[in-house]
């Protein structure tokens, strides 16, 4: 049961060394990197649950906490089945190295696609339940009574006939020796006492006192700091650099090339490394993309809108024929730009390499892929590597990649035995992201004489994330992920409308800018294209946008239910009151993605001078089950900050092969003063498990764009809004 794997031993050894060496400026390691679970002083019941003699319960969480709150949500699910005292619960991350040594005992570490809870809920609940059964059995054994005569609640086991009690801590050691039961019955969610409740997060206090240690804050004995500059042109290389020009600057230890495209300066402090790097003469070989530009990409994507070859995502009947024979046609062309994730904490990793072992401390959304990258970059087998995860200062999909981890290992490899912390500048982060894919879309609808829709053709043209990050996921030129929210069926993201005929297809066009999973992923632009176009049809056929949607959604009751919940809460049938002498207008949007159904209504006003104000947003979510409603509300509110940042401001443009934006001054985001009131309506209907971190982002932009049309008669089909003049003639 209790494997003492080599990485544990090594960690303790390292920490002992660290303590002995001491450190003038303090010794900080994140709590989760400390060897808390040394077998000598804790009692592991099973891989998910540790119970200490004082009844403290440590719940192990394999997924990463990046602000989305699933650390707390997953702990609630385990605690619910464990029947432990919630006030004595804490959490820790198992390491990917331990997972490897224990045959992936904690399952998938990947924290993306809003899957943290929905993909692992069943096995973590079973982990809690089996631990409870083992603790009860251990107590029953001690009392020499049948386990069936015992019950557990609040970390206390009671022998019902005699009233005797034992606390979990008293029987933990014995429980840990028992076999893990295989037959487990999970609670019906309607009986939940800890899950489903509006519990406070477990990680809040340290985040308001400055005590939370992020990767950027790591300090270790003997640690050096590195700043890095990658070739500003994607696909370019280092031609030369003059290290001697900065060799005498204070604190500089070494100038190293990283891979074939980057140069790093290693110094005693990061500020000295960064300023020395600024002064380092570097010549780049800008390579084949030196002339790439957003304008050139737009021409290629535009051509894709009419290309004969396209991969089909959803097809009902013969939409092309129905369009050709339609008495009336409506057509609109939309586009969506590149965007940077812009996590508040720039990319960083601390690595220590020796010929025998490579260790990395980093905020990552996927500990296992981080370990694989560490192994590859270090040239050591995975069993000689370890990754210690640290809470993320924002992830949003960016930290599902491993590029900065590889860099940190390549730097550490050139400084054997010395821990080196690599941290990117904001400028490096802005110019070397994994950007939201760029796409264009042509929407066409055929109408009959009564204005009924006879056909819809949605032609997407543009970038595939999978083609760049997981090419084996693309088959015959078809990337299934580009059709998020548009599929005919399925629990992940199916279209909420039924049209007599429909064709959704995609012409893949991949520019040189590296794409990545950007919170909400392809649902973001797909929702804009579909939801704004539905509004265009409603307007062209003089129908109420809600009434038209309801007509098209009769076969999609779950999609319709969240839309109806929004309409009811916002009071769709009554016009909104004026605000500050301005008339207020509404716009709707709905979509299904990441397993959940979402809808929103935005209320906006546009002044005569074209000033847009978003006053209020009502948003509804059906995630099946709501594990922590107040954290779902936080995710819904946050989704509007992310989604409205994209709609109002978000754009990365390319000129001469490089991203033109460099920092938050030229890549503005939503601030406090832009934020509308957000009212969240949670309607969990049960029977399925959906995600909540991402789907709502997709309805932010189309709800606002449709409200802007209602206010001004202007259709905005290209984002961001900052380029458009809403001034009324």
């Amino acid at each position: 049961m209790k494997l003492l794997n080599p990485s544990n031993v090594d960690r303790r050894h390292f920490l002992k060394l660290s303590a002995a060496t001491g450190l003038a400026i303090g010794f900080h390691l994140p709590q989760n990197a400390l060897a808390q679970t040394t077998p000598a002083d804790v009692n592991e019941i099973n891989v998910w649950v540790v119970v200490k003699p004082d009844d403290t319960v440590v719940i192990r969480i394999a997924r990463s906490e990046m602000g989305q709150g699933s650390l707390t949500g997953l702990a609630q699910l385990v605690a619910e089945e464990l029947e432990c005292n919630w006030a004595k619960v804490s959490t820790e991350y198992p390491t990917p190295g331990q997972s490897l040594a224990r045959n992936r005992a904690w399952g998938n570490f990947s924290t993306g696609g809003s899957r943290g809870i929905r993909e692992s809920q069943e096995y973590v609940r079973k982990g809690g339940a089996t631990a409870r059964m083992m603790l009860v059995q251990a107590a029953a054994n001690e009392w020499k009574v049948p386990a069936a005569e015992c019950s557990a609640a609040n970390s206390i086991i009671t022998h019902t006939p005699t009233g005797r009690t034992l606390s979990y801590g008293k029987v933990a050691t014995a429980a840990g020796q028992l076999a893990v039961p295989t037959a487990v019955t999970l609670k019906d969610p309607k009986d939940w006492k800890v899950a489903g409740k509006r519990l406070a997060r477990l990680d809040t206090v340290d985040k308001v006192t400055g005590k939370q240690i992020y990767g950027a804050d790591l300090q270790m004995p003997g640690m050096l700091n590195a700043a890095i500059k990658d070739c500003p042109v994607f696909g370019g290389k280092v031609k030369s650099f003059n290290a001697s020009a900065i060799a005498k600057r204070p604190g500089v230890k070494k100038v190293v090339q990283v891979g074939d495209s980057a140069v790093a300066v290693v110094a005693d402090t990061w500020w000295r490394a960064k300023t020395a790097l600024d002064a380092l003469p570097i010549e780049w070989d800008e390579g084949p993309n030196a002339k790439a530009s957003s304008a050139a990409t737009a021409v290629i994507l535009k051509a894709g809108l009419d290309a004969p070859e396209a991969a089909v995502g959803n097809s009902q009947g013969d939409a092309k024929a129905a369009l050709a024979s339609a008495g009336r046609k409506i057509e609109a062309v939309y586009s969506y730009p590149h965007q940077n994730h812009a996590t508040m904490e720039p990319m960083n990793a601390t690595a220590r390499w020796t010929p025998e072992k490579c260790e990395v401390w980093t905020p990552t959304q996927n500990g296992e892929s981080a370990l694989a990258a560490t192994s590859e970059a270090s040239g050591l087998p995975a069993r000689q590597c370890e990754v210690y995860k640290i809470h993320l200062g924002g992830g949003f999909g960016r930290r599902s990649m491993t590029d900065w981890i590889r860099q940190s290992v390549e730097i550490a490899k050139q400084m054997p035995g010395t821990p080196v912390k690599l941290m990117w500048t904001r400028e490096e982060d802005m110019q070397h992201g994994r950007y939201h894919p760029v796409t264009h879309c042509k929407m066409q609808a055929g109408l009959d004489a009564q204005g009924n829709i006879t056909a819809v053709h949605m032609r997407l043209s543009g970038q595939s994330i999978l083609a760049a990050v997981n090419p084996q996921g693309v088959q015959n030129g078809r990337d299934p992920v580009v059709f998020q929210g548009l599929l005919a069926t399925g629990l992940e993201g199916s279209l909420g409308y039924t049209f007599p005929t429909l064709l959704v297809d995609h012409a893949m066009r991949n520019p040189s800018v590296p794409p990545g999973f950007w919170r909400g992923v392809n649902l973001n632009q797909n929702a804009i294209y579909m939801e704004c176009f539905i509004d265009e049809i409603a307007s062209a056929t003089q129908q109420d946008p809600l009434a038209l949607r309801r007509k098209l959604m009769t076969q999609h009751p779950k999609h319709l239910a969240v839309l109806n919940a929004v309409a009811q809460k916002v009071g769709w049938d009554t016009p909104p009151p004026d605000v500050g002498g301005q008339k207020v207008f509404r716009g709707l949007a709905q979509i299904m993605g990441f397993g959940s159904y979402v809808a929103a209504c935005a209320e906006v006003s546009v002044s005569k001078d074209g000033e847009l104000k978003i006053h209020r947003i009502v948003a509804s979510t059906d995630p099946g089950y709501a594990v922590n409603p107040q954290q779902i509300e936080a995710q819904v509110e946050g989704s509007f900050v992310y989604g409205l940042s994209a709609a109002l401001f978000g754009e990365c443009t390319v000129k001469n092969g490089r991203i033109e934006q460099s920092n938050f001054n030229d890549y503005p985001v939503v601030l406090m003063r832009h934020m509308p009131k957000v009212e969240t309506v949670l309607v969990p209907s049960g029977g399925f498990w959906g995600g909540v971190g991402e789907p709502t982002i997709a309805v932010a932009a189309p709800a606002v764009l449709n409200a802007i049309f209602a206010a001004t008669g202007k259709r905005i089909r290209d984002l961001p809004l900052k380029h458009h003049n809403l001034k009324q003639a």
Binding site: I25, G67, W86, A200, V208
Partner: protein, 166 residues
């Protein structure tokens, strides 16, 4: 050795005069609660108080901070997280990833000191810090809760491990 006064204590350090205060705090003094976000005084993650004034420490050369000026960082705002702003932040579960929150808390504490009952416009103007997770509405609610002396007004009904409900 140069000197600065941080959180009530005089601290000695060695750094080039043009080193920003942020990096002296983080690297010379080991106080990492104050964060680097942009380096150009736009995001506010590096906000500290200098003589009570909220200041973006990432562009403030250390040579311009006199030894008698009183620098207060998130670590020194209260001894144990008991500042009313910190208490309200905890009660309303404001942080998500938390990286921007040191700066947010420092900016809010400075605002409430000069304007104990700030209007929405005051909050908009003073709280220009960037949060990417999207905690703005809870921050606004928490600032108002401090002003009103009660977190119940926010109506979030968050249950804490000690049994209390905010």
């Amino acid at each position: 050795m140069a000197k600065i006064n941080v959180n009530g204590a005089t601290r000695q350090f060695k750094a080039e005069p043009d080193t920003p205060l942020l990096w002296v705090l983080r690297e010379q003094l080991g106080m990492t609660g104050t964060k680097y976000g942009c380096g150009i005084a736009v995001c506010g993650a590096c906000t500290v108080h200098i003589n009570g004034v909220p200041t973006r420490s990432c562009v403030r050369p250390i040579s311009s901070v006199g030894p008698r000026e009183k620098v207060v960082t998130i670590e020194g705002l209260s001894p144990n997280g008991s500042h009313p702003v910190q208490k309200a932040w905890v009660a309303l579960d404001v942080p998500q990833c938390g990286y921007c929150q040191s700066g947010m808390v420092m900016a809010a504490a400075a605002l409430l000191k000069t304007k104990p009952n700030p209007s929405d416009a005051d909050i908009d103007a003073a709280m220009s810090n960037i949060c990417r997770c999207g905690t703005y509405n809870r921050i606004r609610a928490a600032i108002k809760a401090v002003a009103q002396g009660s977190t119940r007004s926010a109506g979030l009904d968050i249950q804490h491990t000690n049994g209390s409900v905010a």
